[in-house]
Assembly symmetry: C2
């Protein structure tokens, strides 16, 4: 499997001068996802866990529902393709319903999860160039992935869950990236009731969180957070 990073010689310039050094740069990879021999998407991504990316993407788009739908996954890293074959024809499922879950979590638990999340973001620490996403419960992070794209990092988390029979309903998702409407819909479609972002939401992200019953936390960093919707899941 190709590596996620690569070293380059660079010049480092400060107010006091210039020196030759090396920098670890994040790799960018183009992958085409096909479903039953039909091209469905091409993504700029990080080259690891391409099977998770493809399956998570297909699930987010409503094109597969679970692992049982999948007959075969062929990953061709050198050619940049992931070919997914299903057992029967695809009937795209759509129509988002409200996320229903009684999960509650306390602010200290959120702060502890974020500390763990930041610790794990190793490629980011080395390159400053990737997003991270994680699935967890109130106490632990269960699945963690990184990618140069914030959508891809989340797709990889959901793909890993789907392939390894890890439930997502009633759990929480942590992302390093902004929460746009697309991200909120992606998370709600996996029945995740709690979305925690280190970054900002958009107006449509907030509105959809309100409407779809998702508890939305933004700017979760430095032991602070903003609570934008469905605050009742955060214990007092």
């Amino acid at each position: 499997m190709p590596d996620n990073v690569e070293q380059f010689p660079i010049w480092r310039i400060t107010e006091t001068g210039r020196e030759n050094t090396t920098d670890v740069v994040v790799r960018e990879f183009t992958v085409t996802i096909t479903l039953n021999n039909q091209e469905v998407a091409t993504r700029l991504c990080s080259p690891r866990n391409l099977d998770y990316l493809a399956v998570g993407f297909l699930a987010s788009e409503g094109l597969i529902e679970g692992k049982d739908d999948i007959k075969k996954i062929d990953v061709d890293s050198s050619g940049g393709t992931v070919r997914v074959t299903t057992k029967r024809d695809i009937q795209p499922a759509r129509g988002q319903v409200k996320v229903d879950s009684d999960i509650e979590i306390s602010p200290p638990q959120v702060f502890a999860l974020i500390d763990d999340f930041v610790q794990r973001s190793e490629v980011f620490k080395a390159t400053g160039g990737v997003h991270s996403a994680a699935l967890g419960n109130a106490k632990n992070i269960l699945v963690f992935n990184e990618d140069i794209g914030r959508h891809n990092a989340i797709d990889k988390v959901f793909g890993e869950c789907l392939l390894n029979n890890i439930p997502t309903a009633g759990r929480l998702l942590i992302t390093s990236g902004r929460v746009s409407s697309e991200i909120l819909l992606k998370v709600a479609s996996r029945n995740v009731p709690l979305l925690i972002s280190k970054a900002a939401p958009t107006d449509l992200g907030v509105r959809l969180a309100q409407d779809l019953g998702v508890t939305l936390i933004g700017f979760a960093r430095d032991r602070k957070m903003n609570l934008y919707a469905n605050e009742w899941r955060i214990k007092r």
Copy 2:
């Protein structure tokens, strides 16, 4: 024109408690760009300067070359469409050549430009949710735009330049976002010889900068920067 931000009531949680307050959230807008009545792209973006976005996008894609190609631009903010009509049929121009320019700039000039760039990022200061891009010369920022998408912010800069007859060749572009291969190609296609990013490049971004003769600076912040390619344009 719709505004770029909106206020929401939120709860602010810290280690010492929870309080009701309001937060300024960046707006997300969907716009469809048509060229001679053909749909060419749909973008999630910030709602300001949609004409710049459309024209910059079409120029980046090689679908228009200059202002003289354009007969009419209809912006429908409520419907979320920008319709661009050209004077004659479109012959997509492609094939990237090396960027040729003798421009040089000193490290103190880069640091001063970044200070100015950060000062101007007002929506980011309010919301933490947008990217910025600017065109400048060694001494001044000439054009500045913001958008929730890093590609869109750059397209808006180039669209504004194109519509207002502001040359881009031999000048520099500053971006708050990561430099992937797509960003590097977008900048090289406007003959900009110097790209300054506050964030990280990808491996393909670095390689294309080397090959296309673009001076690439990353992590330009806190009066430091990394120089990844064509360092000769940065004066000693």
